[in-house]
Structures are given as structure tokens and as C-alpha cells.
Amino acid sequence: MIRGLMPYVLALWLFLIGLYGMVTSRNLVHIVMCLAIVQSSTYVLLLEVGYRAGATAPIFKDITSGRSVVDPVVQALVLTDIVIGVTVAALLLALAVQVHKETHSLDPEDLRPMTG
């Protein structure tokens, strides 16, 4: 029971620890990397739910083999997910460069668009 559950808890841990970093962060670039940690929870969860103990990767040499393989669909999803993570990071970093130019700060305390 516990052994079957712990791997999923890893995904939860990545999600929460990344969010903790974002909540306490004083630097935008740090936040971007914490966001990458939060996102890694999705990779881990997806790959875990498609995993089959003792099975091999879903890549074949020829059509004849009937061996047990892990789910290829989740892997395809994770591939797309990884690309999305990189693009959002690129955009956020470009925003960070420019906001630093305007405000000379990357601290969320100083980066408040509007209040009230």
C-alpha cells in the first residue's frame, strides 16, 4: 500500500516545494526556476501513472515482439509538456530582463503593477 503510494507523493512534494519557493522568493529568476520544479511534478505524475513494473520502453526492433511495455501515451504528453515549460521560462526570463531595466530590481516586493 505505502510502496504503491509513495511515488505519487513525490509528485505532490515537487508541486508543494516549488510553490513554497515561489511564495517566499525575493528574486524573479529564482521564481522561474521554482516554476520549473512545480512543473516537474506533472512530468513525474504522468510517467508514474503509465509505468508498469518490469516492462520495457515502448520502442521495438521489429513488429514480432509481444513483450510488455510501459504506456507510450504519457511519454508523448511529457515531451510536449517539457517544451511548454521551456517556452514559458524563456518568456518569463525576457520579461525579467526588461523589468529589471525599468525598475532595477527583480524582487517581487518592488514589482507591483498596481495595488488596491
Partner: protein
Amino acid sequence: MNGALPALATFVPLGASVALGGLGRARRWFVDAVALAAAGATTVLTVALLVQTREHRIIHWFSGWKPHRGVALGVAFSADQLASGAALLVAALSLAAFVFSWRYLETGKNHFHVLMFLFEGGMIGFALSGDFFTLFVFFELMGVAAYALTGMNIGEAGPLEGAINFAIINSVGSFVLLLGIGLLYGRTGALNFAQVARALAKQPATDVVVVAMALVFVGLLVKAAVVPFHFWLADAHAVAPTPACVLFSGIMVMLGLYGVARVYWTVFRGVIGSAQHELGLVLIGAGVVSIVAGSVMCFVQRHLKRLLAFSTIAHGGIVLVGIGLMSHGGLAGSTLYVAGHGTVKASLFVLTGVLLHRFGSLDEGHLRGRGRGLWLTGALFALGGLALAGLPPFGTELGKGLIEEAGSDHAWMPWVFGFASVMTGAAVLRVAGRVFLGLGAAEPDRSERTGRSSPGAEERETTAAFDRTPAVLVVPAVMLLAGALAIGVWPQAAERAQVAAARFEDPKSYAASVLEGRDSLHDTETMAPSSSSVVYGVAAAGAAVALATVTLRRRRPGARMQASLRPALAPVTALRSLHTGHVGDYVMWLTIGLAAFGGLVIVAVH
């Protein structure tokens, strides 16, 4: 049956985006011509989609992977009346935004057009998607384009900061959505809505399904800016370029709510069973909180775009209440309300853009009396305010009336809706009175200032001549208001919306048409919007005018009056102080909302 229209409606704007991306050195008139042609073509395609889905759903299987013996491996787009309607609203508002930006934005390169088409295609794909992961991909596509658009005015800190908060919060939301999808896939092994529903029907409802539903909902509610996931919205909408705001407030936010309704009625309906009423109450509760918080925050703003942004949060709450009623009447009302509100709000943003174009400011106090000569803009602005307050026969009144009729068990409903209508309508009318008639005190208290929005701080989004307003800028506003009016006066609107909503809310028929290609029509009982709603609408509009008039008195309230008001205003001050602009706070509120919403959903279902 493999209709091409859903794929075309999504990939024509996306293709236009790629084409424009390769024409970096093209002349501006050429770029505009291509943009208007492509936006027009997309609108035509979505109209065709709306017409064709009258009789049956249109399913498109990508890569030709049709389901085999009821098992779907491929990715489907499924268009019904509501999905097509959402796509049409996206296309129409995009077209208006492109017409407006023709003379409005003159920023040399065509990056804006490229991103706007990506945004448009992303939203249409989101609306038509019948598959969880494709929903997520298009959620991200519209997100990435929107973040970049928000930060477009790089010369100032505000847009960059707003874009950062927007990108971070929406990204976290999308990961919550994806975690929910991961849990569902783990339980069912499927991603197609209909397939997931079938798989869930075969096994007893387990806890993981409820948790997955809560996560999927939260991810979508972040996009829908429902309180307490709403903080990013006001930051982003206040600083984004005006044509992008038209789409942000007009439809992007509402697509989050559409997504909630879509996945609930195609996937989770069968699992929830008799707990549907309780689950609906959770959604209604979230909607009411959004209505109250959004209305109050809207009224106290003096930055025009931020004011309109908060009003969007309040009106989104009304839509969510309609969805939470879990009936075809409520959903039909929400649908009409989205259309009515979207067109009205878009036209208000266009008119705000006209003011920014002319005066380089969006501060209510700074603009006081400067719009005196702009009688047409002023009249349209005031009309928009009245339409926002639900003045008959605008589409907003019709939608709200239907929701009230469907929720006639809830006696409080007209009052709460009325609160939103009066507060947001009065805020807009107050602005109209101050800007176009020069009413009100010369310079309100400094304490009412919104953050950094000092007068005249806005960067002009244009380099055109400022001494006159090109007619092209006002035309989209007129067209959009006319659209809002048309929805309200079209005699069949209420009935058609209810028939469409009833079919939307039929998971069995959905699954059969997606997986087996069998589509069945059945009759729906329809009702008329409550006759009292016309009275409510007129009353709300009148109250909005009255409230605006009171706030526009020349004399400020006396010291004693202010002292007696202070305790009553304490909650308002507290609410305002929560809007800190700090992204760490926003993430914290998101987690609070996730825990609370998740907990409530679990309690409701059990």
C-alpha cells in the same frame, strides 16, 4: 463523418500567424490587409460552424484516427452550438480588435498581429477541443500569446510586471489542470472526454476522480479569474494593449468558465450523480464571492482599464452562478450573458482605447472634462455602462433574466445580480459623467489613487495624430454594442440557447456522437426569461444612474459624514489591501483557493 470545419476554424488563424511571422519586412498596410482578411475568413468559418451544428455535432478526428469499436485513440475536436458560439465570439471580437488596431497601434513590426492570431487560434482550439490534453495545449497556447501581448509596452514597468504576474499564476493554474488530467489518466487510461466518461461509468466513483475533478476545475477557474484566483487579471488587463484587452475581458476569461461546464457535462456528470446539486452550490458560492468582491473593487477604481477588469470578475461570477444551477436554463442564460457581456465589455475597452489614443491617460481624475467634445464616444460609453447594468433589451438583460428564472428557488439571486449590475454600471457611468461632462469634484482624494497610475503615466500605444479620433476607432465600438443589442432583441435567442444548452448537458448523446457517430435530437422544454427581469433591468440601470449621480456631486461629503461612513467602509479597505500586486501573495491565495475549493468539492460530493 469527419467535418473539416472545426480544424479549419482553428488552424486558419494559426496559419495566418505563421505566414505573417515570415513576412517580417512587409509593409504595414499589407500586414493589416492580410490580418483583416484572415480574421474575416475565420469569422465566416465560425459562423458556418454555428449554422451547421444546428442539427448535429461536428466531430473532427485529427490525423484521421477515428474511434474503432467505440475506443478512441486519436484526438477529437467536437463542435456543438455552445462551442461554436464561443468560437464565433472569439472570432468576432478578434476581428473587431484587428479593425481597431488598424489605425490605433502603429508599432512598426508585425509581432502584435502574429501574437493576436496565435491567441485567437488558441482560444478557438480550446473551445472546440474534445480531449483533455489538447485542451491543455491550447490553454497554454492562448496563455503564452497572451503573456507576451500583455508585456508589449516594454517602455514601462507596469505592463512587464502585469505580464509576469499573469504568466506565473496562469502557469501554476495550468499545472494544476495537468495534474488533474494525470490523475484521470491514471484512473481511466483515456484522454478523450467521451472515452473518459465511458471508462468512469464502468467503475464505482472513486476518490481520485473527485480530486481530479477539483484540480481540473481549479486550473480552469484560474483562467476564469474567479475569486481568489483573480488577482492576476486586474494587473494584466490594466496594462495590456487595448486590442488585447478586448479579447482578454470579452472572451478569454469566460472560456475558463466554458471549460468548467464542458468537462463537467461531458465527463464528470455521470460520476457525480445525485451530488450534483451540492456541487452546484459550491460553484454558486464561488460565483457569489466573485460577484461581491469584483463589484466592490470595480467601484473603487479610478484607472479605467482596471475598473473594467474588476467588473469582468463580477460578471464572470454571474456566469458561474448560471453554470452552477446545473440546469439547461441556467447554462443557456450564462451563454447569452457571456455573449452580451463580451460584446459590451469589448466595446467599452475600445472606447477606453479611444480616450488613451486621444489623451494619453486612463486616469479618471486626470481625464475629467477632457472628453467634452467627444459626444459620440461619450454617448457610446454611457450606453455601454447602461448595458453593463443590464438595461433591456441588451443581451446582458436577457441572459441574466434566464439565469434568474432558472434559479427561481434562490430568492437572493436578483439582489446579488442587481448588486453587480448597479455597482459596475454605476462605476462606468460615473467615469462617463466625469470624463465627458466634467461632472464631479475637480480632483478626488489622493487616497483613492490606484498604485502607480499617476496621471499621464500611460505610454501612448500609438504615434498617430492625437488632435482627432479616426472614425475607424469608434466603428468597432458601435458594431459591438449593436451586437449586444441584437442578441437581446432576437426573439428566438432564449429558446435556441436553451435547446443548445440542453444538448450540451447530455453526456450520453455527446459520447454516442463522438464515439459512434450517432447523433440524436430530442425535444427540450424551454421557458421564457422571467417577465420581472425587464423590471429588474430597468431598475438596476436606474439605480446605477442614481448611484453615479450621487458620487458625482460636486461637494465632497462633510467630515462628519466621512467619519460615520468609515466603519462601513472598513471591509472595503481590507479587501483593497489584499490586492498587493505581489506575486508571492497571489501564489499563496491560489493554494488557499485550491485547498478550500478541493475540500468543498469533496464535502459536497460525499
